[in-house]
Every structure is written in C-alpha cells, then in structure tokens.
C-alpha cells in the first residue's frame, strides 16, 4: 500500500465524478425524493419514524453499490485497469482509492438525505444526529466495497447492473425493513444475522429510537466495518495482473 497512489486515485475518481453532474444530482436527489415519498405515504402514522431511519441506511448502500460496480467495471473493460496494473500501482491502492472517493461522496449524500429527512419530513431522531450521519457514511462505504467485489464477477455492464438485484434485493428483504428481523422464519433469521445490510438498518434504528445508543451502534458498526474490510480484500483478489 502506498498513500500517494491511493490518494491520487481517489482524487482522480472524484474528478471523473465531478464531470458527470447528472450522476451527482441523482445521487443527492433520489434518496430525498424517496424519503419524501415514504413520509407522505405514512403521513399521520408513527411508522415513518421507524421506516424513515431504515431507509437512510439502505439508500447510501444501494446507490454506492451501483455506482461503484459500474465505475470499476468500466475501468476493466476500457483497458485502463490492465495498464494501471503494469505501473507501480498496487491492487490495495486501487481498491482503497475507490473506497475513499466514494466515502467522500457518501458524506455529502448522507448529510443531504439526513437533513432532508429530519428538517423537511420531520423524522424524529432520539439519538445524536452526527451518529446518524456516521452510520449512513459507513453504509455507503459498505455499498462501495461490495460493489467493488461484485464488479469482479461481471464481464459486461449489463451483468453488473443485474448484480444489483442479486446482491442487494435479498438483503433488502431480510434486513428488517419489511418484516422485523426477530419475526422472520428461523432459517431466514439466521441468514439475516450474517448479512451486512441488517446491521446497517439495526444501527439506524438504534440511533433514531434510543436516546444514547452508543454501544448498540458501535456493535453494528463493528460488524459493518468487518464486512467492508473483507469485501475490499476479496475484491482485490479478483484484480488479476495477468489475464488470458
């Protein structure tokens, strides 16, 4: 690992993103629109307080998953990855560069979406707001890391997009957003205990419902962080210097 190469790669990815205004717009506006829609659907019921928080955990994850897996796949198919791997660039530098760039994007997205949920939609948050933002950022980094991993298994951009439902939808169904996790059938409950998005949503719920959620959030955050590290390590294994 080399700090300079990691940082210039992160800076390069952010510069590329900046030239694509529409993608940035979508990353910031879409979560707000969906949260707004949810608030409206559950108007005058207390359900929004529980669901709204979970959504804040799910969006950054899904959006970053898609953007990252397509961006890295483009790097593979355009030949730039082949070229980079003939330079002193390490696989870890490459993965961390991407993760850092999207983490920076995630901070922006999390701040905008949280502000919208709290100040516009009236989401009640019992715990400290900064923890909500911190968890959202961690969820986004998780999405990026899994997206990097998934792109290693895709040969075309069509396949990469198909990985979204394959990787994300099962986690979405099992994360406790639709049916609370303790009411899932036994086997599904155990599967849900392993999947990272479950902890993303758990952490969000603790922050919104609990006045001082510190240790609960820290536990979930720890598991998410483990998943992030594991995905980045596995993902860097899918980067092959030599190909057929």
């Amino acid at each position: 690992m080399n700090a300079r190469r990691t940082l210039v790669t992160a800076a390069r990815v952010l510069t590329q993103l900046r030239s694509d205004r529409r993608t940035i717009g979508l990353m910031l506006v879409v979560p707000c629109v969906l949260i707004g829609l949810f608030a409206w659907i559950f108007d005058a019921t207390p359900a929004f307080d529980a669901l709204g928080a979970s959504l804040l955990g799910v969006f950054p994850f899904v959006v970053m998953f898609i953007v990252t897996s397509v961006a890295t796949l483009r790097e593979r198919t355009s030949g730039t990855l082949e070229r980079l791997l003939t330079t002193p660039m390490g696989k870890g530098d490459f993965m961390m560069g991407y993760a850092l760039a999207f983490a920076a994007m995630a901070v922006l997205q999390a701040v905008v979406a949280t502000a919208f949920a709290v100040y516009v939609c009236g989401l009640d948050v019992a715990g400290p707001l900064w923890q909500l933002v911190a968890v959202a950022v961690l969820d986004a980094v998780l999405g990026s890391a899994l997206g990097l991993l998934a792109s290693g298994f895709a040969r075309t951009e069509f396949q990469a997009v198909q990985f979204m439902p394959a990787f994300v939808l099962p986690q979405f169904l099992l994360c406790g957003l639709i049916v609370s996790r303790d009411r899932l059938p036994d086997v599904l409950g155990r599967v849900s205990d392993v999947l990272p998005l479950s902890y993303a949503v758990d952490a969000m719920k603790s922050v919104t419902l609990d006045r001082s959620p510190g240790s609960d959030v820290a536990g979930s955050a720890g598991i998410i962080a483990l998943w992030v590290v594991a995905s980045l390590v596995l993902g860097s294994l899918t980067l092959r210097r030599r190909t057929a």
């Binding site: 730039t80 330079t87 002193p88 057929a244």
Partner: protein, 251 residues
C-alpha cells in the same frame, strides 16, 4: 537514471529475451513456441497480419498475459516483476485513458502514480503535440488524438523500455513522422522500443524488424537484410514475399 542503473543498462545487450514462449488464448494456440530477442537501445518493429499474435506477444512482454510455458525476461528480470513497473512503459492497442478527464488530468494522474513531476506530464503532452488540447476532455478528442494521449501517459515516467501496440494507427503522415522522430530520438538516448505496426513504410524507421505469422517468427532482421533476402524493393514487397513463401510451404 541512477549511475549504477545506467552502467547496468549500458552493459545489457538485450532489452527483452524470450525463450520457448507458448500462449493459448480461448482454446487457440496463439504462440506455439516463440524465441526472440529485442536488442537494447534500438527500435524494433513488430509486423504481421491481423491475428498473427502481435498484441499477445506484447502483452507477454509487459507481463499481463497468462502464459502456458516459456521464459520472458525484460531488462534482465522476469516479465511483470515489481521492479519493472517503473521501467517499462506500455501502450495498449486501443487507447486506455479516461474519457471523462482532460488530457492534462490523464497524463498527470499517470505521472503521479509513477512518482514523476507535473512538469514531466507537460513535456509528455508536448511530445505528442497535444499542448493546444491539454484542457480538453479526452472523450471529445478524435481517435488519433486519443491514442496520442495514451502514448503520452506511457512516456511520462521516462521508461527504459517502451512497448507500443500500434501507436501510430489513424494518424496523418506528418504526425507519424514526428512520432517516429521521437522514437528514434529515444533510442538514440539509450531507450529500447518494441513497436507493433500495420503501416509498412514505418518499417524503414525501425532498426530491426520482427515479422510474425500465425504466432511464428518469419523473419528477424534489418530492413536491408530483408530486401536483400527477398529481392523486393520495399518493406511491403518483402513482407508479402515472405508471407507467400510461408503459405506455399504450409501447403
């Protein structure tokens, strides 16, 4: 270049040494058993019909090709070694640069990875004559301009060996002449170059020619030697003559 390195470079006879290289791609034997040398400090042209294995050979030299057997040594080290990554510049056949970055941002990024200064990025941009387009997005450039950005990104670290896969494709005669002047100048400074090409009149600019057909070396000689051997008047004639003879022999 450090003093010790320069000394080593001076002593080295061959920039690339390939022995009994065998490469199978997608179930096809592309290079059955190839042995060849690229002398240091020269421009070696890699010529051959489409599909003859030029890009495959080049990929083996830069260490991105899975090989089945054989030995590829580059600047005295096994191809793809960590220590070679500062010393070898590679240009892929289709331009591999970022379309959503400007010319300058692309070249500076590759410079930063190699630890080269931003001013060396400017020099590389000037060397490929893109100074007036430095702030244009690569996605808005013509095909020939894009391949020059790709070349600039390989020149930027001042590598000892440049491995270029059809760097002059789609360029006009003036630009091609300028780039070949650059290649010859680099060789005169002691750099080694392996350059694949489809354009036969470029053979005249190479110190040596490697003629590939179906993964086999048909000729490994200087242009005068080739003309002498075939009785042809130019590189294209010699090339066709050798291919025809090989086809005859295969029948």
């Amino acid at each position: 270049m450090k003093v010790g390195e320069a000394y080593f470079h001076h002593m080295m006879k061959n920039a690339v040494e390939i022995d009994h290289l065998r490469v199978v791609r997608g179930g096809r034997v592309v290079l059955p058993d190839l042995s060849v040398r690229v002398p240091a400090g020269q421009v070696v042209g890699l010529l051959g019909p489409s599909g003859s294995g030029k890009s495959t050979l080049i990929r083996a030299v830069v260490g991105v090709q899975v090989i089945q057997a054989g030995d590829v040594r580059v600047l005295g080290e096994p191809a793809g070694s960590v220590s070679l990554r500062h010393r070898v510049g590679y240009v892929t056949q289709s331009p591999s640069v970022y379309e959503d970055l400007t010319v300058r941002a692309n070249v500076r990024y590759f410079a930063a990875i190699l630890g080269a200064s931003p001013s060396s990025a400017e020099e590389a941009i000037d060397a490929v004559d893109l100074g007036s387009h430095a702030d244009t997005l690569v996605g808005r450039l013509s095909g020939g301009q894009r391949s020059r950005v790709s070349l600039a990104a390989a020149l930027v670290g001042d590598p000892e060996l440049l491995v270029l896969d059809e760097p002059t494709v789609g360029l006009d005669p003036v630009l091609r002449r300028d780039l070949w002047n650059l290649f010859n100048r680099l060789a005169a400074q002691g750099r080694s170059l392996l350059v694949s090409s489809h354009v036969m009149d470029e053979a005249a600019r190479c110190d040596r020619l490697l003629l590939l057909r179906e993964g086999q070396v048909l000729a490994d000689a200087t242009l005068p030697e080739l003309l002498d051997r075939t009785g042809a008047l130019d590189a294209e004639g010699a090339f066709l003559n050798l291919i025809d003879r090989a086809e005859e022999a295969a029948r």
